[in-house]
């Protein structure tokens, strides 16, 4: 069973809000107006892609509803739900009071009784308050009820290190949630996969946590007009190569691609895979890549301790040890509460020069 749509994300035209060090995410391809018009599909920003996916699913199934702070009249703090309350009403796009644990629990109760709610954490970090409900109820109720109740919720929101937002608004919860049995986690990184994953998450019968990144909302891309749904469990091949497998997700994909430009100029041929599915890992795509390149570099924004990279390292060692020619290298954020100061914040996350250096080291 494979997904309906495979994608190779080519050049993405867009810029991101970021610090002064990195200017462009990836190589920009100049498009002449004529060629743009003749290409199929339509251009939009990542948050618009999320909204499009959400809207299509809400049109398709009246049980789909959204709970969150400021999702209704305000349109969502990152505009993902803009216009939806006017279209669907205040009950389907519910402005909740500031009570994360309770409205997430409410989503669980609604899901058990037939609805398909999407919970938006205004910032993923706020969902720490909902940890009780996410772990005990979202994750476990299907099992403890002996399979009687399904919890088809989607829990989503922006996370990751932004631009000097301070420690509490710069959290990466994927490491905290990954051990919860019974949930799936995916991270989107482009408008194309954002829309596809949003739709897949809504349609899934499992509780899914969809990680978005604060700095990626304004990425622009041309996406197909036709409807498409991506697979929640598959990884995405970003750039095929021969020398080294670089596994990454979310914003770090762009740092990796930036480093890739430098590496290509230096004569390396990195294979870049956006793992997308943080739990479970797509060991097939990852394994095939390792069998080809024999070298692995993991680049993530998660903290070092107990992060996605740590789990991925363990999984690769267990399954593909024989194929490795070198130790797995994992570049993660520092185990530091993200500082406010711009320079310090820069050094907390992995930067392209570090990626270049790591690849050079690996390929010695």
């Amino acid at each position: 069973i494979r997904s309906e749509a495979r994608t190779i994300s080519g050049a993405i035209n867009g810029s991101r809000k970021t610090g002064k060090v990195i200017t462009k995410a990836v190589a920009a391809q100049a498009e002449s107006p004529a060629s743009a018009a003749s290409k199929p599909g339509h251009e939009l920003l990542l948050f618009e892609a999320l909204r499009e996916g959400l809207e299509e699913e809400m049109d398709r199934d009246p049980r789909v509803c959204v709970f969150g702070e400021d999702v209704g009249h305000y349109g969502g703090s990152y505009k993902v739900t803009k216009g939806l309350a006017e279209k669907y009403g205040d009950l389907r796009v519910l402005d909740t009071p500031i009570a994360e644990n309770s409205f997430t629990g409410m989503a669980v109760g609604a899901a058990m009784t037939g609805l398909r709610p999407i919970v938006e954490g205004m910032n993923m970090g706020f969902l720490l308050l909902a940890f009780n409900q996410i772990s005990d109820n979202c994750g476990m109720l299907h099992y403890t009820s002996g399979g009687q109740f399904t919890i088809p919720t989607v829990i989503r929101g922006p996370g990751g290190v932004g631009r000097q937002l301070g420690a509490e608004h710069s959290q990466r919860l994927e490491s905290y949630f990954q051990s919860i049995p019974g949930i799936q986690m995916v991270a989107c990184s482009t408008p194309y996969n954002a829309k596809g994953l949003m739709k897949a998450a809504i349609r899934s019968e499992n509780p899914v946590v969809l990680f978005e990144h604060v700095l990626l909302y304004n990425l622009k891309e041309r996406i197909p007009d036709e409807e498409y749904v991506l697979s929640l469990e598959e990884a995405e091949m970003v750039r095929p190569g021969e020398h080294v497998t670089i596994l990454t997700y979310s914003r770090m994909r762009y740092h990796v691609m930036q480093a890739a430009k430098t590496l290509v100029n230096k004569g390396y041929d990195p294979e870049v895979i956006d793992i997308r599915s943080l739990k479970p890992f797509d060991l097939y795509t990852i394994g095939n890549s390792i069998k080809k390149t024999h070298r692995v570099l993991i680049v993530e924004e998660c903290m070092r301790t107990g992060g996605i990279g740590a789990s991925l390292t363990a999984a690769i060692n267990e399954n593909f040890h024989d194929y490795l020619d070198a130790q797995i290298v994992c570049l993660s954020s520092q185990d530091v509460p993200t500082p406010y100061a711009g320079t310090l914040e820069e050094w907390t996350v992995v930067q392209p020069p570090q990626i270049v250096a790591a690849v050079e080291q690996l390929c010695k």
């Binding site: 609805l115 009687q148 899934s204 019968e205």
Partner: protein, 430 residues
């Protein structure tokens, strides 16, 4: 003392509207309820003594009923229940009691393990509320959930099986004592953390409202959330009171105030022990009722449930009740004053209803005995069924982790792990 209602009872509830925020539940008239001593007229004032007896004797009762000592009733029209209803209530309460007693026996015989929390003494609350519900209405409970499940209609054999950890249990043996679920009977759990179920109940009520307003269905389903006095100091309680009142959700919050949260007295942990007062603070009526009297509970429940059905919003009902046993079967129950326990033992709800039914000639002693016998047999049969049921196979281990088992992901060989033949044996690597 017999207790019966006169026409006055038809103003049984002092459920106040949301606008009035002064204290609800002022004494309507001195009330004597089944088996207890009459209460003084004064309103309760918080005092610092911990003696629960003293505190209880000043408690306010929202529902009053006059004591009719001398008069014999001429007809059943003045009674709160008909014969059929009386028998249903009696049977349900007796079922709850007999089941819990059997649980204790089975636990000490090593048939069930872990934490088992018994409901003895609180049957009036479960029966009083749940017997008014339809099958589509939802019930959410805490870890003290066996009797709520039974009242809602889950067969005793399924609950007993679940407690024994057998695959024929209502949750296939995967839930246990604290996690009773039934999709068929709309029992949404069974939660181990207190307060955890209240948002779930709020969500179920939300679905009911959603069905009415978005699907335009004729839906008047109601949800009941049961929880204890300890929970009323928890954030989720307050957050849900707010949301339920805000959106006028069809839910009734039922507080089973048995005065003790394991070994923590309610008075030692709560700044204002009168929980019903917290309802009006959020814009919903707060009602206090004697939870040892099933008829009173039922009257309050009728009003609260029909309020919810009419779309008027939530109600907070505080039921003053008591658990005869410890917090769980592992609790030595040393902190509670024996005098307090003795006092409540005299107010056993089952004995009281029996007395009421017999004295008002609703049924004979023989009929009640027949019910008891039937229930005893049902419980015996449930234990036999549970004993003989198979334990879960290893293949069950991975089955219900995900509703869609593709969630276990794609293995190194390219196939979904759930397609691995070992998956159904419960031995696949996931």
């Amino acid at each position: 003392m017999a207790c019966s209602a006169t026409a006055k009872i038809l103003q049984p509830l002092s459920i106040r509207s949301a606008e009035k925020s002064e204290s609800c539940g002022k004494m309507l008239s001195p009330s004597s309820f089944l088996g207890s001593t009459p209460l003084p007229k004064k309103l309760f004032s918080v005092n610092k003594t911990i003696s629960p007896l003293a505190r209880r004797s000043a408690t306010i009762v929202a529902v009053s009923s006059d004591v009719v000592k001398e008069k014999k009733l001429k007809s059943t029209q003045n009674l709160l229940i008909t014969k059929e209803e009386g028998l249903v209530l009696y049977e349900d309460m007796y079922l709850g009691r007999a089941f819990e007693d059997m649980c204790a026996q089975m636990y000490y015989r090593g048939k069930m393990f872990g934490f088992v929390h018994l409901y003895n003494g609180q049957e009036a609350v479960s029966t009083g509320f749940i017997k008014l519900l339809k099958k589509e209405d939802c019930v959410v409970s805490t870890y003290r959930d066996h009797v709520h499940a039974l009242s809602k209609g889950v067969p005793a054999r399924q609950v007993m099986s679940e407690l024994f950890g057998k695959t024929t249990g209502c949750c296939r043996g995967q839930g246990g004592s604290m996690h009773m679920f039934s999709k068929e009977h709309n029992v949404l759990g069974g939660f181990a953390f207190i307060g955890e179920g209240i948002p779930v109940a709020t969500g179920a009520a939300f679905t009911s409202k959603y069905k009415r307003e978005v699907f335009k269905e004729d839906c008047d389903e109601v949800t009941l959330a049961f929880f204890g006095d300890g929970t009323c100091n928890n954030g989720q309680f307050f957050e849900c009171l707010n949301m339920a009142a805000l959106w006028k959700l069809p839910i009734v919050f039922v507080v089973e105030n048995n005065l003790w949260a394991i070994g923590m007295s309610h008075l030692r942990s709560t700044s204002d022990p009168q929980i019903w007062k917290k309802g009006p603070a959020f814009g919903m009526p707060g009602v206090h009722v004697d939870g040892m009297d099933v008829l009173k509970v039922r009257e309050v429940a009728k009003e609260a449930v029909s309020r919810a059905r009419r779309g008027e919003g939530p109600t907070l009902v505080e039921c003053e009740t008591y658990r005869f046993r410890g917090h769980s079967l592992a609790d030595p129950d040393e902190l509670r004053d024996p005098a307090e326990k003795a006092h409540y033992a005299t107010r056993d709800p089952i004995t009281a209803l029996k007395k009421y039914v017999i004295e008002n000639k609703l049924a004979s002693e023989a009929e009640l005995k027949a019910i008891e016998k039937k229930i005893d047999e049902e419980i015996e049969e449930a234990v036999e069924f549970a004993d003989e049921s198979p334990v879960p196979e290893r293949s069950q281990l991975l089955e219900n982790v995900f509703a869609d088992p593709k969630g276990f992901g794609i293995g190194p060989d390219g196939k979904y792990r759930c397609e691995d033949p070992k998956f159904t044996q419960g031995t696949a690597q996931v």
